[in-house]
């Protein structure tokens, strides 16, 4: 027990929290980028542009069926072979964004499909262009319905950042490993700390998501 508690020195806690901040940074930047790209891809899938929508659909299907770890390996180890050198942080954000964009594209496409068809017909016959109808009427209603799935994607994204340990991104899981590499007795304590940190962060986000969903529904 004394071993367990001694692992929680201020130095260790501070070291972990700095890692948690990296985790949050990577997750937030990735989720914002993938929200924008995913929206674009989702809309392209929805409007059925000849060829383009098919190609985008195929790429999304491929990405969705690959392990995220493979995409991280690819961006960090394979891209340099063709002359693209990204840092650890950028590689992680790049890989997470590609993966999450594909996931969110499907969420967004199904959100758009779930808006009653009459909304589009009403807007078009009111004189709005398709683009205006999409922007002012369809997407706002679709996003409202999509808050729960988007929040749960965000939570998996935070958990997925731990995969970047493999390419030595100094996020929270990686830092825990550094600590118990130096203090082998701290291993259980570090796993416990990781569990608490991930749980606390994700639980808060889920709660905020639920409150947001209830507010918007009212």
């Amino acid at each position: 027990m004394a071993e367990f508690l001694s692992a929680f020195s201020w130095i260790n806690i501070r070291f972990l929290l700095m890692g948690l901040w990296v985790t949050i940074e990577v997750a937030v930047v990735s989720v914002i980028l993938s929200f924008i790209i995913g929206s674009l891809l989702g809309v392209i899938r929805y409007v059925k542009i000849p060829y383009l929508s098919r190609i985008v659909g195929f790429i999304i299907d491929v990405i969705r069926n690959l392990p995220l770890l493979l995409i991280i390996f690819f961006t960090y180890f394979a891209l340099p072979k063709i002359g693209i050198h990204l840092g650890v942080m950028t590689s992680t954000i790049f890989a997470l964004t590609i993966f999450e964009s594909a996931m969110l594209a499907e969420v967004i496409r199904s959100g758009i499909v779930a808006v009653p068809k009459g909304q589009l017909e009403g807007a078009l016959s009111n004189g709005l262009s398709f683009k205006q109808a999409l922007w002012h009427i369809i997407l706002p209603q679709a996003y409202k319905k999509m808050i729960p799935p988007i929040v749960s994607q965000f939570v998996s994204l935070i958990k997925d950042t731990s995969l970047a340990t493999i390419i030595m991104l100094p996020e929270v899981t990686y830092r825990a490993q550094i600590i118990y590499a130096q203090e082998p007795n701290a291993i259980v304590a570090m796993f416990f700390a990781l569990a608490v940190l991930y749980f606390a962060l994700n639980y808060v986000i889920s709660k905020i998501g639920r409150i947001l969903d209830r507010r918007m529904a009212a």
């Binding site: 009459g118 909304q119 017909e121 016959s125 004189g127 709005l128 262009s129 002012h136 009427i137």
Partner: protein, 244 residues
Amino acid sequence: MSMIEFKDVEKYYGDFHALKDINLDVEAGETVVLLGPSGSGKSTLIRTVNGLEPVQEGQLIVNGQDLANPQTDMNRTRKNVGMVFQHFNLYANKTVLENIMLAPRLVLKRDEAENKKIAMELLERVGLADKADKMPSTLSGGQQQRIAIARSLAMKPKALLFDEPTSALDPEMVNDVLKIMREIAADSSMTMLVVTHEMGFAKQVADRVIFMADGQILEDSPTEEFFANPKEPRARQFLSQIIH
């Protein structure tokens, strides 16, 4: 001058022949009611007039533009041809006032103060000025339909299409909506094409009645003549079923 003109129009849904050899001419300012049993193609026909349903053959000239031509810019037609739906289709994410002001702002670039003034006048006209800041979902069907009509009128259209505007309403709401439609029809410059089962309204307001069945126009007669002495046996049968 004709506002809406069908010339030998054919429409298919895949293999299904939805509209067969449609020829119809609606003059500017005319009020025409479409009658017929369900599945006869009335709604399909009215939805082709603002391009919500494409047609495959023939010519469909609306406000001078041929909608049968795939190159035609439907938006230009829709600016001048409003539509009122059975299920209202008000924008669920906008207030009542925003529902009315959105299209004039985006499409006509109407000045904001003037836009609001016109919108409030229209709300006044349909008797719902006190609902301006409400969300559509909080209103009754009859109220929503009156706002949908106000939304269409805000674009100052040359023609209005009504697709069973009272079919989804509780009986006590129907008259409020019909009253507004009568007032619009009284405006001699407005062209109206109405799909309805309200025979009283048809008798009172329509200049002409079109009777459809199985995707065809079977009869096209002046209103009085149609109700007094329908030529087609199918029309006679239809009337006897509806009027007791």
